[in-house]
């Protein structure tokens, strides 16, 4: 019964999406306002039916109702409530259903906020959005149907993949990732609409920027959270492995970042409209590529869903969407002619353009590294993997160059500067850069890349802080502090927020550079009572005990951490045993401080003999990466908060 209702809801959503996109395209082409109204109604129907289907599934998972196919496959009576809810996206069919949910929410909000808009682009955008929605509803009603009926429901199910049950971050990372991935549909629709309508005016630019920033922010958070999860759960001591699926999430992030920066040039100079639109469309296509990578079984990764039949279907959609995008761009890009021109020479314009090219090159490098094993396999029938060395070698120079631009770009004025002024604005940050370099050197860093990163990061931090301070400082000459702050916040928030995002990104880059070059690690076998030294710590294995925790059993080892004879902490790395899985899942124990993490991960444990195999690492500055993410999120939220429009827009002489 539940399954039948679910199937009906999915079919209803498919109908609404297909009909809605047809009506929207028709309404846009013939400028028929009645059709445009109907398209919005059908969009609402789509959203409502998919949201209802998701609620139904969550309800079935919580009961649990094993007559629903998906629940029989991933549900269990013994898992905690949060695990039951997380099961919604733990397996293939549910993850597509959840995709639908996120898309439905995005569409509802995007359509609602633009409800009063009489613009010529909205009907086109709705048509594109609902076409995408139709594809995912099609997947749900056929190849990835979660609401199959189980004729003889089992009395209990296996529960979701044990890795997903193992850490609370698994409840948080996927929703953020979906919010990032799925959200790219909205700017894609708007970009396509700009081409279809043949106009990319200030109104659409603003809307597009906002709707690009939202998924970009979620994607940023999701990528870092994914690293955090890997760090806290997988136990190898790192947070990024250039795994195909990690790369898949990075690709659209890179192009979307480029698009956000090119939007500045579109806004200021009315140039590069076609380029910006292309980047937005590429970001969407790369999210679909990423979806294909995780669900086709072509790549091997921690993220892969089990062998699934929907790979070809997603690939067909990817091919279709790509052909649509390329044709649309080729046919209509000339309608988005530039109205201004770039300021040539050593200006912010030039550096923005250069940064754009570097980001695209970065994305291309990662893409090539990711699909290279496929090329080798297809042409020479050999297995190979492209590992860290390729990515590290290729990406380090690009990352450092981008960091340099991040410092130089914002330091340059929009207009061509005079020499004296230029020397002053570019000179002072060198002091901070030198300090950062010295600090890294004093801390023992000898990796040329890490030292270079420290130098450029110091430079960029100085520039970002100056840019944040400038609007406040200028007003402080005439106003009291809190008035100055309020005033600066009111008129210069966009710029300040953008630089907070920059600061966050710099902090992340520094954390990555230092932690990836200065880790110390040791693998030891210990009997109870034995100790060993690592860095400035002395670690003593106290003992291991078996615990039963309902849905899992665990062996927990206790390791005392001391420094200079003083007890600092007791860490408890553990192995969790789940009924559904043969091999145990280790959970490392991490002691984080501002400048370094002590990371303990069990390799093996024998509770009877009281012996363990332990991997211990001292990872410097890893927590900076998480802190940087929070800064970036704060900046992005500040950028998204609705602005009270006052005074002439920036660029009307405010800075110069």
């Amino acid at each position: 019964m539940t399954a039948a209702i679910g199937r009906s809801l999915v079919l209803l959503s498919l109908f609404a999406a297909v009909a809605g996109s047809v009506v929207a395209f028709g309404g846009a082409a013939y400028r028929n306002t009645a059709a445009q109204r109907w398209a919005r109604r059908l969009l609402a129907l789509y959203s409502a039916s998919i949201i209802a289907a998701n609620l139904l599934m969550v309800w079935a998972l919580l009961r649990p109702d094993f007559s629903v196919g998906y629940v029989a496959a991933v549900g269990s009576r013994s898992v905690p409530k949060w695990v039951a809810i997380v099961s919604l996206w733990s397996s293939l069919e549910g993850s597509i259903l959840f995709w639908g949910l996120v898309l439905a929410v995005y569409l509802a909000i995007a359509a609602w906020t633009q409800r009063a808009s009489q613009s010529d682009y909205m009907p086109w955008a709705i048509g594109v959005w609902l076409s995408t929605a139709a594809f995912f509803s099609l997947l749900l009603s056929g190849p990835a149907q979660p609401f199959t009926t189980v004729p003889l429901p089992p009395s209990d199910g296996p529960g979701p993949n044990a890795l997903l049950q193992n850490h609370l971050l698994m409840a948080i990372h996927p929703p953020f990732l979906y919010a990032g991935y799925v959200g790219m549909t909205i700017p894609f629709g708007l970009a396509a609409a700009a081409l279809l309508a043949g106009r990319f005016g200030p109104g659409l630019q603003r809307t597009l920027r906002t709707w690009l920033l939202v998924p970009w922010m979620f994607l940023t958070i999701a990528i870092v959270l994914g690293g955090w999860w890997a760090y806290e759960v997988l136990g190898w001591g790192g947070y990024w492995a250039w795994d195909p699926v990690e790369n898949a999430s990075l690709l659209p992030w890179l192009t979307a970042t480029a698009a956000l920066h090119s939007a500045l040039l579109v806004e200021r100079r009315a140039v590069l409209k076609g380029w910006a639109v292309t980047l937005v469309m590429a970001s969407f296509l790369l999210t679909i590529l990423g979806t294909f990578m995780t669900r086709s079984g072509v790549f091997n990764s921690v993220h892969s869903f089990t062998q699934s039949p929907i790979g070809p279907t997603i690939l067909a959609f990817l091919a279709l969407a790509t052909v649509f995008s390329v044709l649309l761009l080729a046919m209509r890009i000339d309608t988005l002619a530039p109205e201004g021109q770039l300021e040539p020479g050593f200006t912010r314009d030039t550096l923005l353009l250069l940064g754009n090219l570097l980001l695209v090159l970065f994305a291309f490098t990662v893409l090539v590294g990711t699909v290279f094993p496929l090329i080798v396999d297809a042409l020479w029938h050999r297995q190979m993997s492209v590992g860290r060395p390729y990515f590290d070698h290729m990406v380090a120079p690009l990352g450092v160059a981008l960091l340099l631009l991040k410092g130089l770009g914002p330091a340059l004025p929009w207009r061509r500067p005079n020499r004296e002024r230029l020397l002053r604005t570019l000179g002072w940050p060198l002091v901070t850069a030198g300090l950062a370099f010295g600090t890294a050197w004093a801390a023992g860093s000898r990796s040329p890349w890490a030292l270079l990163v420290a130098f450029f990061a110091g430079y960029a931090v100085h520039v970002a802080l100056r840019e944040i301070w400038l609007p406040i400082g200028q007003r402080l000459r005439v106003l009291r502090l809190h008035h100055a702050l309020a005033e600066a916040q009111r008129t210069g928030r966009r710029r300040m927020a953008a630089h907070v995002i920059h600061l966050g990104a710099i902090v992340i880059v520094v954390g990555v550079a230092i932690s990836s070059t200065m880790t110390v690690s040791k693998e030891v076998a210990l009997a109870s009572g034995e100790s060993f030294a690592l860095g400035r710590y002395t670690l003593t294995f106290v003992g291991a005990e078996v615990r039963s925790e309902g849905h899992r059993d665990a062996v927990v080892a206790r390791v005392d951490v001391a420094q200079g004879g003083r007890h600092l902490a007791s860490l408890t790395p553990r192995m969790n045993y789940y009924a559904s899985q043969q091999t145990p899942i280790g959970t490392p124990a991490v002691r984080s401080t501002l400048f370094e993490d002590l990371y303990l991960s069990l390799l093996s444990v024998d509770p009877a003999r009281q012996t363990i195999g332990l991997r211990a690492l001292v990872n410097p500055m890893v927590s900076w990466i998480w802190a940087g993410m929070i800064l970036m999120a704060i900046g992005a939220i500040a950028l998204l908060l609705p602005a009270r429009r006052t005074l002439p827009p920036a660029g009307a002489g405010g800075v110069a």
């Binding site: 761009l329 699909v371 043969q582």
Partner: protein, 179 residues
């Protein structure tokens, strides 16, 4: 129509799509062993049914499928039926050998009584054969040509269809390209 945009767009997108289509049948869990293309390491192992020890040498002239497995390994249990079936249907051209990895005689006997068997099982008590073949974890299955060369290796559960395909490739004398 902007020709340049069209050409550049297609030049970037088309090869990628073609590559992905070509990769659809790819199995990322297949890991080539350095042993592929080399002579299969000889072994002499105790038969489970108590007969003479089984050697690889004695099977020379027939293609051989060597499956490392154990009763405690769930993927091995899952592929057992497919192996039994394949051994039966491939007749005398292809010999199947099951090498029991880190397991007890009694457990294996009980398992085979329950699930059936159609090809010889041998015990590898000190794991020498497993080490010689570089077995990383069970199940691993090696495909050895009639002239004693390892031509393929599969890690993880084999489906009936995949097994049929691999056995057919094995029985068909060397037409694999240079590897």
């Amino acid at each position: 129509m902007n020709r340049r945009v069209l050409l550049v767009g297609l030049a970037v997108a088309l090869p990628l799509v073609v590559l992905l289509v070509a990769s659809l049948s790819r199995d990322p869990t297949r890991i080539d062993s350095p042993l592929i293309g080399r002579a299969a390491p000889a072994f002499r192992l105790i038969s489970l049914d108590g007969g003479d020890p089984l050697t690889l040498q004695s099977l020379r002239g027939r293609a051989v499928v060597v499956n490392f497995w154990a009763t405690w390994c769930v993927p091995c249990v899952a592929e057992h039926a497919a192996l039994v079936q394949a051994a039966q249907s491939s007749g005398t051209r292809v010999a199947f050998v099951g090498v029991v990895y880190q397991d007890q005689d009694s457990e294996v006997r009980a398992f085979l009584r329950q699930h059936g068997a159609s090809y010889p099982m041998v015990m590898d008590p000190d794991g020498r054969a497993a080490i010689a073949y570089g077995v990383y974890g069970v199940p691993e299955t090696f495909f050895i040509s009639a002239d004693g060369i390892i031509v393929n290796k599969q890690t993880g559960t084999l489906t009936a269809a995949r097994l049929e395909q691999l056995v057919a490739e094995l029985a068909r004398p060397a037409e694999r390209g240079p590897s």
